[in-house]
Each structure stands twice: as structure tokens, then as C-alpha cells.
Symmetry: T
Subunit: 146 residues, 12 copies
Amino acid sequence: MDERILVLNGPNLNLLGRREPEVYGRETLADIRRRVEARAQALGCQVAFEQRNGEGELVDLIQGLAEGWHGLVLNPGAYAHYSLAIRDAIRSVGVPTVEVHLSNVYAREPFRHRSVIAPVAVGVIAGLGPIGYELALEALLARIRG
Amino acid sequence: MDERILVLNGPNLNLLGRREPEVYGRETLADIRRRVEARAQALGCQVAFEQRNGEGELVDLIQGLAEGWHGLVLNPGAYAHYSLAIRDAIRSVGVPTVEVHLSNVYAREPFRHRSVIAPVAVGVIAGLGPIGYELALEALLARIRG
Amino acid sequence: MDERILVLNGPNLNLLGRREPEVYGRETLADIRRRVEARAQALGCQVAFEQRNGEGELVDLIQGLAEGWHGLVLNPGAYAHYSLAIRDAIRSVGVPTVEVHLSNVYAREPFRHRSVIAPVAVGVIAGLGPIGYELALEALLARIRG
Amino acid sequence: MDERILVLNGPNLNLLGRREPEVYGRETLADIRRRVEARAQALGCQVAFEQRNGEGELVDLIQGLAEGWHGLVLNPGAYAHYSLAIRDAIRSVGVPTVEVHLSNVYAREPFRHRSVIAPVAVGVIAGLGPIGYELALEALLARIRG
Amino acid sequence: MDERILVLNGPNLNLLGRREPEVYGRETLADIRRRVEARAQALGCQVAFEQRNGEGELVDLIQGLAEGWHGLVLNPGAYAHYSLAIRDAIRSVGVPTVEVHLSNVYAREPFRHRSVIAPVAVGVIAGLGPIGYELALEALLARIRG
Amino acid sequence: MDERILVLNGPNLNLLGRREPEVYGRETLADIRRRVEARAQALGCQVAFEQRNGEGELVDLIQGLAEGWHGLVLNPGAYAHYSLAIRDAIRSVGVPTVEVHLSNVYAREPFRHRSVIAPVAVGVIAGLGPIGYELALEALLARIRG
Amino acid sequence: MDERILVLNGPNLNLLGRREPEVYGRETLADIRRRVEARAQALGCQVAFEQRNGEGELVDLIQGLAEGWHGLVLNPGAYAHYSLAIRDAIRSVGVPTVEVHLSNVYAREPFRHRSVIAPVAVGVIAGLGPIGYELALEALLARIRG
Amino acid sequence: MDERILVLNGPNLNLLGRREPEVYGRETLADIRRRVEARAQALGCQVAFEQRNGEGELVDLIQGLAEGWHGLVLNPGAYAHYSLAIRDAIRSVGVPTVEVHLSNVYAREPFRHRSVIAPVAVGVIAGLGPIGYELALEALLARIRG
Amino acid sequence: MDERILVLNGPNLNLLGRREPEVYGRETLADIRRRVEARAQALGCQVAFEQRNGEGELVDLIQGLAEGWHGLVLNPGAYAHYSLAIRDAIRSVGVPTVEVHLSNVYAREPFRHRSVIAPVAVGVIAGLGPIGYELALEALLARIRG
Amino acid sequence: MDERILVLNGPNLNLLGRREPEVYGRETLADIRRRVEARAQALGCQVAFEQRNGEGELVDLIQGLAEGWHGLVLNPGAYAHYSLAIRDAIRSVGVPTVEVHLSNVYAREPFRHRSVIAPVAVGVIAGLGPIGYELALEALLARIRG
Amino acid sequence: MDERILVLNGPNLNLLGRREPEVYGRETLADIRRRVEARAQALGCQVAFEQRNGEGELVDLIQGLAEGWHGLVLNPGAYAHYSLAIRDAIRSVGVPTVEVHLSNVYAREPFRHRSVIAPVAVGVIAGLGPIGYELALEALLARIRG
Amino acid sequence: MDERILVLNGPNLNLLGRREPEVYGRETLADIRRRVEARAQALGCQVAFEQRNGEGELVDLIQGLAEGWHGLVLNPGAYAHYSLAIRDAIRSVGVPTVEVHLSNVYAREPFRHRSVIAPVAVGVIAGLGPIGYELALEALLARIRG
């Protein structure tokens, strides 16, 4: 009932809604936060919502999950495609993780087709826009509770 | 309120729940159908639920969407990795499609990391198990209604 | 004077003219059939004109050419890029084959640049639109009669 | 003593003996069936012998093995090189399978050097001609009985 | 009615008919010229017919098309596989181009399977022998007039 | 007349002039700053000049350009070859960017031949030494003013 | 009736049965020798049975086949994957050869999927365990007598 | 003060300004010549300005630099991507060379990302339009005088 | 006698001993620090021992070695496989470096087989567990003193 | 206390110290033997020290470890990069092995970056010169005793 | 006795002896001509000796061999690595050809390791310096006379 | 006048003249020995002529060249394509080496196009048949004496 979930966003996601709306849509990260918090309330769990541009800072936050957190919803942004440090952090803390991408990365440049993080995640949601965060939260809870 | 969505399953998904439960889980395809129908009712849309082993038959069913259907939730099974015929069918009928995989294909054999269908889909949900179908339905409706 | 030629169309070509006209043009498959039949009459040969979505069904039809047919004009659609079964069928029956594509496959996605069927065909016509079928028929007859 | 084994042949194998004898030899599929049935009698097991051109139909037949069959001798023809659907079907039903090829696929075109089915089979026999079916049957029985 | 089309031949095509007839056939380039001129007369257009061994000279001739020409039938010979300068010339003058190859390049050495020119052409005709030039002319006119 | 341009330097460029002068020359980053400021004055624009070792910090600075800056001269150092986060930041803020490298990266190790940033930049200047910064500034202004 | 066949084993096969039984089974090379000799007697041929660790020694033994031998059953062990010297020896002496592997090499590390010897062999038997040697002998005789 | 610099342009650059202005801009080669000559005068050096479509002619001109020239500004056009003959000519005469491209080749087709000439040049300027020629001249002089 | 050596650890190594002990063993980073300090004392040198998750911070620390340090023992963690910024920092400061990995990276995922740092290091020690740090220290001193 | 360790050297290592000292240093193999024996005495174990040029002979010696030996320090020389036979021998006897290279193979030709032996070794020491043998011995003992 | 042999040199070979002597030696092309003529006289054949920078001109000269020439010694320079037009010319005229390179191309940049001309030549001599021309002449005559 | 040259032949060359004469010609190795000895006498040098099938034995013989030999003519047979041990032996003893192949390896299977030995040889002669040995001897002497 009171699972603690971190919703973590990687580089450039703080610019959401203001830049390249044809790719990422018009909702801001604050809008997404509100969506996620509303859904969390409906689902009966707690969420923290963070964004960082630095790889090392994202690793720090993920390592912190070892202290009593139950799950991670991660939009790694561009780090999805090369940050083995984030991959290792997720595997090290062993907290179930769902990777989310707002856009359909498989329909964009070839370097976006491959995520080094996906193999250590529970699963991936891509291309569904802001609702993808909500669905990731629901799936994560289903798994934790299940 | 009365969108018509096809939930379509590819080869070997009729064996779900009875074979390789460590990979695909213990729910049968009938169980998933019930989940999907329940969620469809809650969301206020109509769903048809089908499974085929043949590539040509899947193409036939997808072509049929041109007659008054609003969306496709597709678990293409192994065809995800090579069926350009299914890819072309989806693009031809132009109906928004969400690709679903029960298992985390990115954590399995390398040939499963690449979907030839994903680039013509709206998005992809992978690794979240049976609830993935429900989430795909919800995301698809959000997009159609949105 | 009375050669029997099969003009065979692969998956999704039944949708021609109605979908993606910017890629495949506005003529329907029925329009193309009329073109081909008119040209056949002018050239003094018989044609049968078929379309199938299923790989196995296409193999069945090609195998049937062993019974008294003289040539094959084949638009394999997406199967051009992976159907080794169709390739083997063509080689097995040994009937001269011209591969036709409506669009210029070499100017589209990289996976469309390679045909597994072309190496066992007499030759290839791509990108010339519906008249490509007529030209294939003329070339095939020139070769058979030649 | 009364194991039930399916000997299943893929696309174009119905043309055996009549076409390309320099590659596939002069025995027809009926000849091979007689060989296999004779050897089955000598070895004390039952065999069913089938051929299909369609990938989906082959998947259907393999799925049927779950109902009381003990083994599969499969000549997948060209599907060996790309049918992940057949691969998944074999793995799903979990029946021991020996893959057979009449010709030495490793001495032919590069695309024939790789079988996507071999990794889920017990083993492979290639290049030994029609006797390869008999040997596959013997090996399969040795394993089942062993 | 009086379209002006250039039929341009690349390196070594001046040796046609005298060398390697098993690959390129027994017609000389002069024979092909006669074919093309006859067909041009039948179709009601003007053709010029040229051959050059030098890449720079071929670029020069293609650039000249900007002065009142309507189309190009190009057999680039070996330059098809690497002359990006010819590719850029075609794109620069913007005249519709059909690429022709006498032999089925897709059934020969791997380096002949890829044309750097095809992506900027309207389409490609390969493997149909000398009649391929006539068909290219007809297709080009159909497109120009169409 | 009063465009604001950021000249931003990536990892290890603070060591310029003291280390590996045979590769990077003998000018220090302070020397380059003076050059750039002199040229900026001559050209009539304002420049800020920064250096950071951290990828996240570089992303932060680039994001800041959205607040009233007109252009970016970026020497990304080694991040040129893998920082998709910096690439996304540049594309997100949409400020015209010229990528500069002191050494001729195309004459060094293969991994230095490819920049993931170049495709989202206006252009690239490489191998011209410290004057490259000045030229980048001039080109950027010409484009902004032009 | 009195064909002379060499059954030759490559490196590390002398350790069979004592090491890694989960991969190679529990029979020793002496056990396999007995199997092979029994089957040879049943089939009416003579066999010699050898094992060597050295590539040059295997080449020497294969060269010796030119003196009155009729066939070779070869388990090349790890040399299958790189010994072009053994490949050339087999082709040079021109004696029909069947390649045998105890384990299913196609289900193991990628480097074991490719045999440089298979293209010069009659055929390959892999994954069937010790009975594979017997079947190879039978197939080889069928071909020699054939 | 009186350095002699050759500014040399490769194939299709004579069409500048008239064709594909969205890629190459609206200035003609004559406009660029005027720019370059003006900048040369300002910088106090002599320039010759040439364009050739033929690879051999470009090699001839580059070889001529051995006779008393001090530098080369080269826009090799499409030859940048494959002319090893031009590369060898530059290395042979040993005259410092700056490679210029009008468009940002790194943002275009993959084959334009790689220059075989860049490794033997001093450096590269790409994507900056006509001013790129001026900047190349300035950088070359700085290096020669420097 | 009083060489100053930095022992530097990259991302996630602060979790050592608590997570994934089957891969990384049960010693914590503090345990390893004690080992290293004891060995340093025995060998007669000074060591500093640090860990950072951030790439930029690791670059900062390595740059600091220019101020009077004699060597670097570096466990770059996941950055080994992509941090060209760390590679450049090591080469820039020119301090002899030994790369250490606790686990045998060559027996793990393919992306761990390649280190971009190894080419600029003196050498590599991998797979030997915590004693690897001690041995690296000894080897580094032997080289510095040698 | 009385572990028996084999220190085994592959091809061309008998030439150490006399040839290419800039790559391999000035110590001879006899010098290294003395180092290793001294360290063995200090560590309280027995060592045998061998060198062979032949792959088969190296396999023979490794197989012999099954008779009462506790560990292997192996410098496989060039065989590191292709001898799958040595790899299989090590895995077969199951004796813990440390691979040693005198030079930093990762800083040399690309073919030296990959060892087919490393994946079956405990670990690797490369680039540390002769002391690398001593450290390998110490690490191996620590593991055996540990 | 009076065979006519063309010794043909490709681009940049006219600069021999004056440029890059560490790669190509100090003999000029005139020196090599004298060598070749002296050896021709000793061997009793006639030689013509030519050099061209243009690919088309080299093709022209090779085509001319059809008129009564017996052999070609060709140093294609950089064209060796990409001129499929020269390759086709050699195959078309069918005159035996020996390819010569002064330097050891296999010890230089990777792009020089592959010749597209070698597969249609009788053979290749590389790295032996000017005497390579003489040896090529001798070998060619031995073959023609042989 | 009395240089000592070793002419060394690799695996399967002892079969020359008896096997595959369409590839390797009809001369035996003894015939070639006589040719080489005659040419050696004419050139005024001593030759030893050897053949071995084993890689280790070839390495042994090459190492022996350090004792007063002046050059090596090596036909490595199939080892050319993978024996890094032979490559290292040649580089270690530092004796000038010419690599010879009887057949044109560049016109055969792709794996024969690459020699790992060529980069450490003076040069290569391929495809010229037995006279290739004589020419290699002459070139080697010219270099040694030159």
C-alpha cells in the first residue's frame, strides 16, 4: 500500500514541452509529474520525482534506492544508449526498474534503437507519450505487489 | 466511447501458460483475453481478440482493420523480428498500433532485440507480462481519443 | 504465340491505389490487371493474374508453374527481402522469372535494397510504376521466344 | 517400443527428385517416406510423414506434437534460415528434434550456413542425402530410449 | 512528342558483343543503338546515344542535360557501384533517369549488387539484355508524358 | 551587433599547451581565450568562454543558451565521440552551433573520426589549431547575421 | 565389403568421459572406439581409430589416406573452427569425409557455429552424441558403396 | 606576402547556385571565386581558382603544385568519399591542404560522413557555406606563415 | 621510497561487497583500501584511495596527478568501456597507469571485453579479485623504480 | 604449502630478450624462470617452467595438469588470439589458469586485443613485463589457498 | 619471341623517386622504364611503357590491348583499391595481367590491403620495389610462352 | 656471393603435382626444388629447401634462421591466413622474408584473400606458379645485396 517508487528523468528532460514538441509533445515535466502523482495516489503508492543532467548524479540517486525503495521508473534520455554506469547501478541495487521513453525510439535514428539499460530492466515502454509514465508505474506496482 | 480495437496475437501465443512459464508466465491466452475484455469494458471500448500462427493470416486480419477499426494491439511473437509483410500491412492500413511483448525481449537472445514492426508502430511495451496488454489498450485509447 | 504467363503479386498488393499513393501510386491492382491483360493481348500471350498474402500460398502457386507454364512475372512485395522459400520455389520449377517492384526500392529503407529473389530471377524492374508489369511481360516473352 | 515420431518436411520438398537432382538427388519424397517407414519398422517405432509449404502450417503441426508425440525429425527447407516462429514452436512443445538437410548446406550459399532452428534442436544431420532421415530417426530413438 | 532523351553508356560498353558474350550477350553497342533508335521513332521521341570510359566525361555529359533535355537512360557500367560523382550529377541536373544493366547484377559478384546511382534514379532495369534499353525508354517517356 | 556567443570547451582542454603539444600545440586555453575575445571585438559581438570536464555540466551550460544567446562554438573534446546527451541538448535549445577541434581528428585513431555532435551542428572545423576558434566565431556570426 | 575407413579425433577428445560430462557425455573415447568397431563389423568394413592433439599430426594422418583408404570420419574438435590446413588436407587427398561433433555446436558459443571444414566434407552430424560416429560410418559407407 | 594558393573544386561544383540551393545555397562558383579573391587580396596572397569534373584532371592539377605553390584549398565534392588517387596526389606533393565542404556532410547520407582525403589534409571545414573557402584560406596562410 | 600513488575507483564500486557478491566478491571497498594501504606500507610508498561515480569528477582527480604524483591504479568500472574523456585525461597527465578489474571482464558480456582505457595504460589486471589492486601497486612501483 | 603450479610459455617466447627488446624487454626466458622460482620459494609452492612452439604440444602439457597439479600460469603468445584447442584443453582439465602477456596487447595491433583463452581463465595480467609472471603466481596461489 | 607487352602505370607514379622515397624508393619512373626495357631485351620481347593519372584513360589503353598485344604488367596505383572500371576492362580484353605494387601494400593502411583488380589478374607482386616490374615481365612471358 | 636462404613450405605442399593440378599445377615439390636450386646457382647463393605440415615445426625452422641465415622464401600454405605464431617468429628473427603463393589467392575463397604474414614480410608474390619461387629468390637477393 505504501510502496516507495522513484520516477527519475535523465538529461534534457527538464526542457520538455518547450522544445521539439513534434518529437516529445507539449506537456512539460511538471505536467508529467502531476500525472504521475495523481496516478500514484489512485494506485496507493508514494512517488518521488527527479531530473538530472549528470550521469554521475543519476548513478548516485539510483544507488540511494537501496535504502528502502521498492521500484524505479526511469526515463534515461540519451544515456539509455551508452551509460553502462547507470546499467551497473540498476543491477547493483537490484530494485525492479521500468524504462520509459516518451517518443518511439525505434522509429528515430539508429543509435536510439538500442538501450544498454533495457537488458537489466523489468521491461520497456516507448512511444506512448506522458501516459507511458503512468503505465510504467502501474506495471511496476503490479509486479511488486504480484 | 465505442472505439473498435483488435488485439492480435502471433505464432505460438496459443500455447501461453502451458509451456515455458519461466519465460512467459503462467497465464493462458484465455486469461489474457479476460483481462483485456475487462479493461476494455472499464475504458469503454470494444475489443476483438485473435491469435494466428500464419504470417499471411495475420496480414489478412490487419488489412481488415481498414473497415471501421480504430486501433491495433499486436503481439507479433517471433514475427516481430522478420515479418516485413506484417510491417507493410500495418503501414498500409494506417491504423495506430501498439506492439506488446510479454517477456523482456531485450534481455534475451540478440535476434529478439530488434523488431521490424516497432518503427511503424506508435510505441512498444515489453517485459511487463499480461498487464502489458491492458496498458497498451489504455495508451492506444488515450491516443485515439486525445 | 500462346505462351502462358503467371503474373503473381505478394502481400499487401491488394491494397494498391487506396493506401500510401505517394509511394505506390493511385492505380489499383485491378487497374494493373487490365493493363497487363491488354499488353498480353497485344503481345499474343495468355496471362493469369493472382495475389496472395501468405508465403506458403505463393510457394504453392509458383510450384504449379511446372504444369505447362512458360514464365512468371513476380512482385513479391515485402517477401522479396527474406523469403528464401519463394526463392527456392522459383529455382525448383525452373521457369524464367522477372521480378517487379512498383516503387524504387533502392531509394527507400536499407532493408528494401536487397532482394533474396533477384539472384534466381532473369532480371529486375523497379521504380517504374504500373508500366513495369507490362515491360516485364514484354521482356519475358522476348526471352522465351528469343 | 511404440514411440510416435513425426517426420516433417518444409517448403519445396514435395518437388524432390524431379527438380535440381544435382543438388538434392533423384529420390522423391515418396521414396524417402518408404525408407523412413522401413527403418521405423526395423527400429520398432511409429512414424507420421508430412510436408507443408506454409510456415504457419508447419507451426500448427509442431504444436500438435504436444499431444502424445515423442520426437520430431524436421527438414525445414529454406525456413531453417529465418523462421523464428518454427524455432519458438519447437522450444514451446519441448519435444526432442533432429534437424535434417539433404544437401551439405555449409558448401552452398552463405545464407544457408546458418540455421535458426539448430540451437533448439538436439542436433543436426546435413549433406548425407536420404539416408540422413533414417539416421536422424535412429539417433532420436536412441536418445528417447536412452 | 519531341522529347529529347540521352542514352548514355559507361566504361567498357564499347566492347559489347565482342567480349564475354556469355555475360553480356552477342549484340554490339551499335546493334543496341539501332534498337533504341527504332523504338524511339515508334514512341515519337528523339534520342542521342553516347558511350564514354571516363567518369569525368560522363559527368560532363550528364550536366549538359540541363540544357533542354527531358530524360536519361543510363547504363553506368562499373561506375554504378562507386561513382558518387555521377550520382551527384544526376541529382544536380534533376532530369529523370532510368538505370539499365544488361546482365542480372544481383546474380553476380557481391560488389555488383549495390548501385550508388539507383537511389537518385526513377528506377532500375537489370538482367533483361538489350531490350532493357527499349523498355527503359518507354518507361521514361510514360513518366515524362504521364 | 551585440550577439551573445558562448565558446564552450569540454574535458581536458584546461590542460592545453602544457601536455602533448605535438598533438594540440603550445597555446594554452587562456591564450585561445584572448584570441577569441580579440576577434569577437573586431567582429562586434560578445563572447563568454568556459571549460568543463563533466558531461552533465556541459549539458547545463548548453541548456542555458535558451535564455537569450545567439550561438555556440563548441570544442567537445572526447565527448564529441559519444555524448548523445550533449547532442540532444544542442538540438533541444536550437541555437546554431559550430563544432571545433584543434587537431585533425580524421588523421588520428578511428574512434576520433566520428562525431555524434556534428549532425546537429551547423558545421565543423577541425585540424586548424587555435585559429579554428576564431574562424568558427566568424562563420557563426555570418550565419546569424546573414 | 572391405572398405578401409579412418575415424580420426582431434584435440582434447582423449579426455572424453572424464571431463565436462554435461557437455560431452560420459562415454570415453575407448567406449566410442568399441561402438565404432562393432558397427564397422556389422556393416562389413574395416576401421582404424586415432586421436591427435597436434594440427600438423592430423594433417599427416589425413594425407596418409591417399594410400588406399576409402573414407574419413573426422571429429576435428576445436580445429573445426579455424584449421584451414586440415581443410586443405581433406580437399587434397579427395577422400570422402563426414564431420562429426558430439555436442550440438550450434547451441554453444558463436565461434563454434562455423566449421571451416564442413564446406569440403560430404556432410556433418552434430549433437547426437557417440551414436553420431556410428551414423557417420553408415552414411559414409552408403555413399562409397552407392 | 606573396604565397601562391590553389583553390580547387571537384565534380559538379560548376553547377553551384543553380541546382539544389536548399543543400548548397544560392551563390554560384563565380560568386565564391570573387569572395576568395577579395579575401586573398586582404590577406596578401595570390590565388588561382579552378574546377574540374574529372578525377585524373584533379590529380594533374594537384601534382602541378610541386612547382612553386604553397598551399591548396580543396573542395573535392563527391571524390572526397572514394578518390584515393587524389589522396595520394596530395600526400605526394606534400603541399599543405585544407579540405572544404559547403554543406554539413555529417548531417547527410552516411557515405558522406567519411572523407578519404581528410587524413592527409591539415584540416577540414564543413557546413559553413561559401565563407568556408575564405576561412580555409586564412587558416592555410596562418599555418604557412606561422 | 616515497612515491605517491593514487588508487582511484569508478562508478558503483562504493557498493562492493554488499551487492552481486557472486560477481564481485564479498570484500567491501573499505576492505580493499586496507589491503592496499598495508601493501603500500610494505612496499614503501604512499597511497591515496578514492571513489567517484561521476565521469567529470574522475577526470578532475586524474588531472590533479600532474601535481607531484607518480602513478595511478585505476578501476574505471563501467567507464572502462566508453569514457574517452578518462582516456584522454590519463594520456594528458602522462602518469603511468595500471587498469584493474575485480571480475574477469573477458568472461562476461561482450561490451565488457573492450576497454578504451587499456591502450593508454601500462597494462591491465583483470579477474584476480581484491589482490589485483595489490599486484597493480607492486607492478606500478617496479616500473617507476625500475 | 606445496601446491604444484605449471608456468607455461607459448611460441617464440624462447627468443625473449634477444629480439625486439623495445616490445618485450631485455630479460630472457631464463631470467624470468629465475624470478618465478624465487617468488615461488618465497610463496611456498613448487613450479615447473616450460616453453613450446607447437600448439599440440601445449595442449599435451595442459592435459597433463589433470595429474595432480593445482594451477597454470600461461603466456600463450600468439596462440592467445586463435587457439581454441588450448582454450578447450584448459576448460577440460579445469585447473585454475592466469593468462599473462609481457607487453600491453591492448596497445598493439587490433588482432592482439582479443584472447580466446581469457574467457576460460581466472583472469589476465598484461603489459606489466616479467613481474607479471610473479604477480600471476601470487594471485593464483591466493585463489587456490583462499 | 616477339611478344608485345604493355607496362602500364596509374596515378601519381610519374612522381616516383622525387616524393616519399621512404615508401616508394629513390628510383624514378624513367629509371624503372630503363630496367624494364633492359630485361625485355634479355627476355626477347617488346615492351611499351605508359603512365596515366585518369581512370578513363587507363581503361582506354587497356582496351587497346585487344589489338595484337600479349600481356599487361599493371601498377594501378591507388585505383587498385576501387576501380571496378579497370577491373572490367582487364576481364573484357582477356589479356593476361600481372599486378605490381612497389611497396608492401599489406603493411600499410587497411584500405590498401584489398585490390579489386587482383581477382582478374594472373597474379600479384607487391613490396619488392622496382625489380618487381622485371619479375612480373618474366613471369608473364613464362606464362604466355608456357 | 654466398648468402644462405631458406625456402620453406607449409602444410600440404608435399602433395603438389599429384592433387588438384587445376589449382596448383602439375609440378611436384621436387620439381620446384630443382628450379630453385638452379636459379640459386645462377644467382650465386645457397639455398636449403624444406616442407613441414606442423605449425610449431615451421616456427622452429624460422627461429633457426637467427643462426647465420640471410633470407627466407616462405610459402605458408593455409597457415598464411591464421598463423600469428609464424608471423611473430618472422618478426622476431628479423630475417627478410618474401611470401609466395602458387595460386592467385585473391581469386579464390574470401578467407584466402588475407594473409596475416604479409604485413611482416618484405613483399608477396602470388599466382605466378612455380616460377614465383625463383622470382622471390631473385628479389630477396637484390634486397640483401642492394
